[in-house]
């Protein structure tokens, strides 16, 4: 793969929590590469280190060792202005949209605050117009939700506001950490569709972080299977599901209850 196709990669990325005897390698020597406009899923069980890896990619957590290369540039240790510029390009959507909000701010403030990441000065009208556009992009009527507080919205609506925020910032890479695990199955498709729309209309690269293999398989082109801090298998989603290679992947696929196969045997 030529380096032009690549948006982000890690080289031997490692994160150790604690020290001495109690040290835990949450992420262990991970080298991955993500292509532009790709939808990729990082799949692992609780405690596999997937969220730690995502937080390092987001530069919310300092790696113990290794490098993060974003568009050819080493961003492992950038700080201040450079980090702000990085966040303009790399954004996240978290599992609990309630925790991502300031509970005292109405929706419009949450969205207007995003402009702090921009260097250009927009006028008030311009900002408002862009906020409205983003809210409309996620099927809200701006006048209906702009003045609402987070507690007045349902989980699905809050998640849509977070997607509107991503739409406003138009990041190049969006990391979605369990974006639908708190949302009912019937509303899930709407959220997934909005995320995938971002890829189609804005060319956003999307990385899903999830424990739900069914969801990961449904949305992504490639899968990264993580286990005990290591990426144990990666490849085309179809190939991994139909012919898993690593014993852990096989175990994982066998443990998920399916519709057409027997599950509780042995």
């Amino acid at each position: 793969m030529s380096s032009n196709d690549e948006i982000i990669k890690t080289e031997n990325l490692t994160k150790v929590f604690g020290s001495g005897k109690k040290a835990i390698k949450a992420v262990d020597d991970v080298s991955i590469s993500i292509k532009k406009k790709e939808v990729i899923s990082l799949v692992g069980q609780s405690g596999s280190g997937k969220t730690t890896l995502a937080r390092m990619l987001l530069r919310l957590l300092k790696p113990t060792a290794g490098k993060i290369i974003f568009e050819g540039q080493d961003v492992t240790n950038i700080e201040g202005k450079e980090k702000k510029a990085y966040w303009r390009k790399v954004q996240a959507i978290f599992q609990d949209p309630y925790a991502s909000f300031n509970i005292f701010s109405p929706v419009k403030k949450v969205l207007l605050d995003a402009f702090k990441l921009f260097d250009n000065k927009f006028t008030k009208e311009e900002k408002w117009r862009m906020v409205c556009e983003s809210l409309e992009a996620v099927n809200f009527r701006p006048d209906e939700v702009a003045d609402k507080f987070p507690f007045e919205l349902s989980g699905g609506q809050r998640q849509r506001v977070m997607i509107a925020r991503a739409h406003l910032i138009k990041p190049e890479l969006l990391i979605a950490d369990e974006p639908t695990s708190m949302i009912d199955a019937n509303l899930r498709s709407g959220i997934l569709e909005l995320l995938l729309d971002l890829r189609d209309t804005e060319g956003t690269t999307i990385m899903f972080v999830t424990h739900d293999l069914g969801l990961a398989y449904y949305v992504s082109e490639r899968l990264l299977i993580m286990h005990e801090g290591k990426i144990v298998e990666e490849g085309e989603a179809d190939k991994i599901i139909s012919e898993p290679d690593h014993p852990y992947t096989k175990q994982l696929i066998a443990d998920v209850p399916k519709l057409s196969e027997e599950w509780l045997l042995e």
């Binding site: 199955a185 509303l187 398989y217 179809d238």
Partner: protein, 341 residues
Amino acid sequence: MEESRKIMLKVDGLRAYYKTRSGERIRAVDNISFNLMEGEILGIAGESGCGKSTLAMAMSGLFLPPLTYESGSVFLDGENIIGKKEEELRKKILGRKYSYIPQSAMNALNPTLKIKNFVIDLLKEHDPRMSKKKVLDLTTERFESLSLPPWVIDLYPLELSGGMKQRVVIAVSTLMNPKVVVADEPTSALDVTSQKIVIKLIKELFDEGIVKSVIFITHELPILRHVCDRIAVMYAGEFVEIGETEGIIFNPIHPYSQALMQSILVPEVGIKGKKLPSLPGSPPDLRKPIKGCRFADRCYLAIEDCRKRTIGMVEFDSRKVRCIRVDHIKAKEEVVPHVQQ
């Protein structure tokens, strides 16, 4: 369903409402009726807020405010447990005949007590004459028969993993061989590997005859497919469809059940091209009485008649469906997908 089997739990027209401080009543469980046979596993599927956990609590006969009893009856092994005193319920029914494994089983254990002391406290409450040694023997024996390591009883809850805690809670809450066990989302906080172990444990309790009948409450349909004999689909406080597992999963009839089944995502080749349903709107406000079908506003098949009167269950081929458009749905061979919003 074989009629010769004994009815273990008979719920008839059960209504349980939440009373708010402002005096409003939320009709969380509205007119639920079903029979649970001896030796049967029934699954209750539905999304958050549909009243499935409230139903589990109401079936225990213990109504803790703000939950209040409205009407209906619950016969457990032939005895109506509605209206019994709390004292009597706690001593004679709960844990002995009816055991409820709560959703937050993770927090059900006392963090300051070792498992064995917790069990001693618990069993003393039900049978004060039981000696400590007897309690411990019973617990160890039960743990062994369920292939749980018996040394676990010497540990504190914080020393156990999530899956192990859940298994301990299940083993402890079935120590007195309750006839009916209601497991409320027993696996929702667990990863798939621990999930499988927990489900196996409940199956084991059932297969060994320690418990007679099980009600499984979950929103994870693929699990129900593998453990249940029958499935009931719940929406906005009511059952909208109940029938045998295979039929409900592969040939759902009620438009809501259809949407629910279509939204299942499993890692199987072939689901990638599937179009997921997206229901417009949200479930109805249960504070107001609803005329007609509760799903009508989100249903692609709704007609004027759906909103005019209370919709009853239509029964055919061992299935019950709360929909007046059953004939219309059955006439079409293929399942009509929900319109994308």
